[in-house]
């Protein structure tokens, strides 16, 4: 590659390479929010003091999350010229064994898997599985997450060493803005925030729109319960998002960018601030980007925690300093957005895909995926699943493969019941449909949506009416209150659902629920309101028998809805171990050792502690 931008990057990449692949052993600690929550700071401290005490020549660094949240705190040991070894659930003792082994030039034992460093035919650590054959990774394909957990997110050089800002340099030197848009269009990239609108079309409309100023907004107001894809990308690879925004800016003719990120993501904000500062210092961001005539700068706008501000028109109002309320579209933001100017609003993951797309071309990007959904999608796999974590899979993979192969199935030998996709705007997909390929349109056909990528797995012990109530409560709480269907309609739906869960429901309620859902879906002002009934509609569609059990039999089949549950102990099954007796917080259980126990219903607060702990399955609901 020739041209000033490339020589500029070449210089910066050199120092990055030295830090990424030093000539000495390097240890990286997963330091995204998930890692920090699991105790990464203590692990990092233990390494630092251990290295000092043993007078070792080892580099210690922070990295983002590699996706294996269930194995946090995660540590990687980089052995120069050979491999990178990944260790999970690292504690202070494991830190000591790792350091002791390195001190002896040996390979620390207990690695989960290994990743070769560069082209190496070295046969070390043969007993450790390869990353490509590890169950968690074998079906994954990482594009948006390509650098997460690998690079130090606070070091711009490491990003550049791994082809960072090459897509931008290529666009600036070899492509016209129209060609960049054409490339994105040809790639078939669709918005990863949930809507799935073709990114290229959006850019084209914005390029065509007239305005003395244009803006690129990165939507990082991730608010779906159980979803944390965007947070992980921002914490693990902030420059990918910045580069994506800059390419978008070049393509549509914008010189200003805003990252709208929720204030509940302090680490993401901190890493973004560092990244922006480093990009400016290294003449990547600001005037005369990479020594070309293109100028672009980015500022951070922090959201105060309203779910509705993820909706683009509400987001714009919030950035403008107004109350975050949506307005009717059209006009679309691409034509009339921030301060009335043409504005592109793309989600974090969409933008993180852009550099790789531009760098390797539309053909390579669209080689992955289905007819209507190209590329990969990041999901946060949470709920009743063994391998909780962040996964990136090619579109077209089945939900079953994600949940059972990558996710390792349901814990405790329980049966799978449903998977919730798309957060509060999505729905619950039953087992009969989980062989469906993951694809915007296929998921929409089930009555759910792709959404931003939250996958909440539910087992047999989950009550689907309770799930619907949970989401309605969330939506009622987060409704901005501007339009009647959402403000009052969602409230009324919640009240009815609560009655059903507490045994006061009637069959007529189901008709009222369906009528309300239909009205809200058709007439609410914004996308959030219009999709608010989805959790109720999809559970009514696939799990109507559970609703009927609550209404007709006044029973909660999953044993979740407290008002409908009566705990009792099966005399024949009870082994008299006393576990329930100890677990009960209100002393409602009585019985002698090795004899059947009993529950005093007058004292019982229906917390379910006895049922959870019983090894014999003797507690009935």
């Amino acid at each position: 590659m020739k041209g000033k931008p490339f020589t500029h990057l070449e210089k910066l990449g050199k120092s990055g390479r030295a830090s990424l692949l030093p000539n000495q052993v390097k240890i990286t600690v997963g330091f995204a929010s998930c890692g920090v929550a699991a105790g990464a700071q203590a692990v990092l401290n233990a390494f630092s003091s251990g290295i000092k005490k043993r007078k070792m020549d080892v580099q210690i660094q922070k990295a983002g999350c590699n996706g294996m949240c269930h194995q946090e705190p995660l540590v990687e040991v980089w052995i120069p010229g050979k491999v990178r070894l990944t260790y999970g659930k690292v504690n202070k003792e494991i830190v000591q064994t790792i350091l002791a082994a390195i001190k002896l030039d040996a390979i620390p034992e207990g690695a989960l898997f290994k990743t070769p460093l560069g082209i190496t035919t070295d046969t070390c650590c043969e007993d450790v599985p390869d990353n490509t054959s590890h169950t968690f990774y074998s079906k994954q394909q990482r594009v948006a997450l390509r650098n997460c957990g690998v690079i130090d997110p606070e070091n711009i050089g490491e990003y550049i060493a791994l082809e960072g800002y090459q897509g931008l340099a290529l666009a600036l030197t070899e492509k016209t803005p129209a060609q960049v848009i054409k490339e994105v269009e040809k790639a078939g990239l669709r918005g990863r925030g949930g809507g799935g609108f073709p990114t290229g079309l959006k850019w084209k409309a914005c390029r065509k729109a007239r305005g003395k100023q244009k803006y690129i907004i990165c939507n990082a107001d991730e608010g779906d319960p159980g979803a944390y894809m965007d947070r992980s990308i921002l914490e693990g690879d902030p420059h990918a998002v910045i580069e994506g925004m800059m390419i978008a800016g070049y393509a549509v003719g914008a010189s200003q960018g805003v990252i709208y990120v929720r204030d509940e993501y302090p680490l993401a904000i901190q890493r973004l601030e560092i990244a922006l500062e480093n990009a400016r210092k290294n003449k990547i961001l600001g005037s005369k980007v990479l020594e070309t005539d293109f100028s672009f700068d980015i500022r951070i706008s922090r959201g105060a925690g309203a779910f509705v501000c993820g909706e683009e028109t509400a987001l714009i109002r919030s950035v403008e300093g107004e109350c975050g309320e949506p307005r009717q579209r059209p006009p679309y933001p691409a034509v009339e957005g921030l301060y009335g100017c043409p504005t592109i609003i793309n989600n974090v993951e969409t933008l993180a895909n852009i550099p790789a797309l531009v760098k390797s071309g539309a053909k390579l990007f669209s080689a992955v995926g289905t007819e209507t959904s190209k590329g990969t999608k990041v999901f946060s796999l949470v709920g009743k699943v063994n391998n909780v974590g962040l996964v990136e899979v090619p579109m077209g993979i089945s939900l079953r493969e994600i949940i059972f192969d990558i996710g390792g199935g349901i814990p405790g030998g329980k049966a799978f019941k449903a998977v919730q996709t798309g957060g509060p705007s999505g729905g619950c997909i039953p087992e009969s449909l989980i062989d469906l390929p993951v694809d915007y349109d296929k998921l929409a056909q089930t009555g759910s949506i792709m959404g931003s990528g939250g996958l909440i797995v539910m087992d047999e012990k989950t009550c689907m009416v309770d799930v619907a109530l949970y989401f309605l409560r969330f939506l009622e709480d987060e409704s901005c209150g501007k339009c009647t269907p959402c403000r009052v309609g969602v409230r009324r739906m919640r009240e009815i659902l609560e009655d059903i869960c507490e045994g006061r429901g009637t069959l007529n309620d189901l008709d009222i629920l369906e009528k309300l859902a239909g009205t809200i879906k058709e007439s609410a002002l914004c996308g959030l309101g219009r999709t608010a009934p989805n959790p109720v509609l999809s559970t009514l569609k696939y799990f109507k028998n559970e609703y009927l059990a609550h209404i007709k039999d006044k029973k909660c089949p999953a044993g979740v809805c407290r008002e409908l549950v009566k705990y009792s102990i099966d005399k024949k099954l009870c082994i008299g171990c006393g576990a329930c007796l100890k677990a009960c917080p209100v002393d409602a259980v009585s019985g002698e050792k090795k004899k059947a126990h009993k529950i005093n219903l007058k004292k019982c607060i229906k917390c379910g502690a006895c049922s959870e702990i019983c090894p014999a399955g003797a507690v009935l609901t």
């Binding site: 109350c323 009717q328 409704s479 209150g481 009647t484 309609g489 409230r491 009222i512 007439s523 609410a524």
Partner: protein, 253 residues
Amino acid sequence: MVTLKIDEIPVQVPEGTTLLQAAQKIGVWIPTLCHHESLSPSGGCRLCVVEINRDGKSQVVSSCVYKAEEGLVVQTSTEKILGIRTCIIELLLSEAPGAKVIQDLARDLGVKPVKRFTPRNELCIACGRCIRACSELVGVSAIGFAKRGYDKLAVSPFYERAEDCIGCGTCAEICPTGAISLKDIDEGDSAVVCEGTVIEGPARIIENWKVGLKLKVCKECGETFAPENQLAYFSKEAGLSKDFYDICRHCRT
């Protein structure tokens, strides 16, 4: 100019005209609530929704916001629209059962309250007409919304005395549901407004904004005619002399 069809009737309107304005032009009635011709549209109450057809796709939009487009086919009372309207009135009836405007709409459209809904005793339906009027027409922005969702209400800043309120009463006048309580008290009477502050008459009390404002007494006839703050605001805005409002307009002419 753009030509469109509303309920099969062709109508030609200048660009930028809303569907509601276009419908009014040809006498097609669309119910509204949060809309007011002197205010910017909000599109919040959703009563004025209509069905538009474009490229064979039907879409429900609020007519007070949506701008007329060339060749657009608009239907104001399809089965779907009537169903939505009915449901929205049912919801509003449960939110503000005492509001006469909603009762009238329900009667006109044959909508009955849904017994299953738990009504609440509020008149404010968060349409924001008072707030928009205070900002767009009066220009003082003394009030705003607090909270969100079902708890959203038009209130004074921090639920305290609305410092910037000039007592003009535009809010009470423009409120569709009569949710704003405005009353003038005479000399000799008194009222408690905010945190136990007692205001002596003659004064204007607006309970919602926790204000009590002294009323000006005409030097000529001795009648009260407007809050002093309002007159001071008018004088300042129009550059009038200090004593201009010493006498009321009846005595001036």
